[in-house]
Assembly symmetry: C2
Homo-oligomer: 342 residues x 2
DNA sequence: TCCAGGGATGGTAGCGCTACCATGACGTAG
DNA sequence: CTACGTCATGGTAGCGCTACCATCCCTGGA
């Protein structure tokens, strides 16, 4: 006869406290919580009352251990401060805040190795679903995702070969649309400025290149890139570099809006007339683009919606519903503004 | 004789698989992982080899259940997209990425009730530490924090009565410094523009008011606020409202940099000369402030460092070290720029 | 009247790990 | 040589919950 380990939990009520108080078996309490339909209304009421009185909250760790399935969504993004991913993450959190699911957020810092490490750590947690940014996982990561035993949603991009599901849009098409817009507006020596050239940026650049080549305007010297993290100050600097390299530049497609804003400010500072002497197009359409002076043309992407949809698809898959389509393209919209209204 | 529940985990290796392979007891494997010093070097080597071969990763749920302590930092912030909190969160993630701790992030949406709900949910998880934004918790939240049985760090602000520890700075002093700077620069009819007036914004406003009253310049009509979420477009709108109400305005202290940027753009649009006709001061010193044209005076705050310090203090407390000081004031710096260089 | 079938409820045995204590080997003091 | 501590290691019994099966009761058809 050993005394029970002195409530290491610190005295929080457990499911059997609730069961005792309600005069039922522990398993019935468990069921009342998870499958209320299978418990008679009377017992359900008693149990609810006991839960309220005791302030019982189920222990997610015990639950995960017993059911071999944690109520956790694993989410992997390359950056927490980049507005783009912050919006996706916000959409995910908002969609999940009602239900029982928690979010386990991992920051890969744009590193494939770090992504592998985080997936390795997520594994034993047995998440209910995994949401990962991008479609360029390493082989190891892909295998970890495939063997995770849970729905997987790749977000931000669409591509031909989903691990499971995808929500995003075509960055290549976005880059092409932005560039074509500049060409149609009459710009000719159009530069590309891009920081932190991750795979999505690479594809936007490919879209730029396709459009420029098609118009017979392509010149490699028009391209300015850096592996550094994107920022407004960096946008300004890169624009100055681009101009130094190519003084005849008359337009720029910026890899994102931060860069575009940096370009705009430098134009002000150097008294370069926008849109007359220089056309500017950004990417993502942060809300400041519409307010900037002059307002900046940008490619609007649906980040928040991507977050919401990814959760919706994952939840459907958890519920056993076959998705009508495994790859959802949410598209983008080019929003023409003053910065290209020559 | 019942057959074991058919490996619900899906075949992941467990600690006893490792123990068997290494020819030791399960508990020794557990110790080798958590207190390597207490296991002989030879066994440690064998165990590490077995772990490597099997690809064993400990199950955090089982660990948390058995030890009544999860390797989780609970983090509560009011917003995920606001750059300010994103930076704090980034500091937290970066400081924690080496160690065994995971982060459980909660978004309170600036709601005290939501904060209570999230703390309620964190409770049974038995986190290793809690980091919460702000110092204005509800009574219920405060009690939940006090009874959490783990180190608690309140971040972003300092105040007189910490639940446990605090890292931040004085928003009141920051607001006052910004306003005094405008007064010293010769501005007189200085407005305050603030969106989403959370407690920190309120204290910046109080600092503004104190400075204005001291200088004999205070007038309630100079204040323009809204409960709406802050954004650049909103900054522009509010500035127009403020001007309509008070056409003689010659300066504005903006509750944050988004608002300040909106004001700057509207000045361009309305051909109001900055800094001659209008002085502008922001708050937080986002990196775009230094690049804006004209560059914008702002109050630099140390968000990333706040995140790092909060983790450092919590880790020290977990390790049983008494902190030399429970309240750490990281201060702020007023960065004068062109927007107030009359 | 009896029995099959289905719904509500409960008991038992784990999930994978660690706290707690026991054990045995060794060293040191007396 | 004995007594006793110390160190490395292991066994056992849970942590709080749920999967799986057993049991019980009620209903309805033969």
């Amino acid at each position: 006869m050993t005394k029970p380990r002195s409530r290491r939990g610190g005295g929080r009520p457990t499911i059997s406290d609730v069961a005792r108080k309600a005069g039922v078996g522990a398993i019935t309490v468990s069921r009342a919580l998870r499958e209320p339909g299978r418990v008679s209304e009377e017992l359900r009421r008693q149990i609810q009352a006991a839960i309220g009185e005791l302030g019982y909250v189920p222990d997610p760790n015990a639950r995960a251990l017993a059911s071999a399935r944690a109520e956790v969504f694993g989410v992997l993004v390359p950056s927490l401060t980049n507005n783009v991913f912050a919006e996706v993450v916000r959409g995910i959190y908002d969609s999940l805040s009602d239900g029982p699911f928690r979010v386990q957020l991992g920051n890969t810092h744009y590193s494939g190795l770090e992504e592998e490490r985080l997936l390795q750590v997520f594994g034993p947690q047995r998440p209910a679903a995994l949401i990962v940014a991008g479609i360029d996982q390493t082989q190891t990561s892909r295998r970890l995702l495939e063997t995770s035993g849970c729905p997987v949603v790749q977000v931000m991009e669409t591509g031909p070969d989903p691990v499971d599901m995808m929500v995003g849009f075509s960055h290549l098409d976005g880059g092409r649309a932005a560039t074509e817009h500049l060409i149609e507006a009459g710009y000719r020596r159009i530069g590309f400025i891009g920081a932190r050239m991750d795979p999505r940026s690479q594809r936007r650049l490919a879209g730029y290149r396709a459009a420029m080549e098609k118009a017979g305007l392509f010149d490699p010297r028009l391209i300015t890139t850096t592996p550094l993290l994107s920022s407004v100050p960096l946008g300004r600097e890169m624009f100055r570099d681009a101009l130094a390299k190519m003084p005849a530049l008359d337009g720029v497609f910026c890899n994102n809006d931060d860069i575009a804003l940096g370009v705009l400010f430098e134009c002000h500072r150097a008294a370069i007339a926008v849109p007359q002497t220089m056309g500017i197009v950004g990417f993502n359409d942060l809300d400041m683009m519409q307010v900037a002076f002059p307002s900046i043309t940008s490619v609007r992407t649906h980040r928040y919606e991507i977050g919401r949809r990814s959760v919706g698809m994952a939840l459907a898959a958890i519920a056993g519903e076959r998705p009508e389509q495994r790859v959802v393209d949410l598209g983008f919209e080019l929003i023409p503004r003053e910065s290209t209204a020559r």
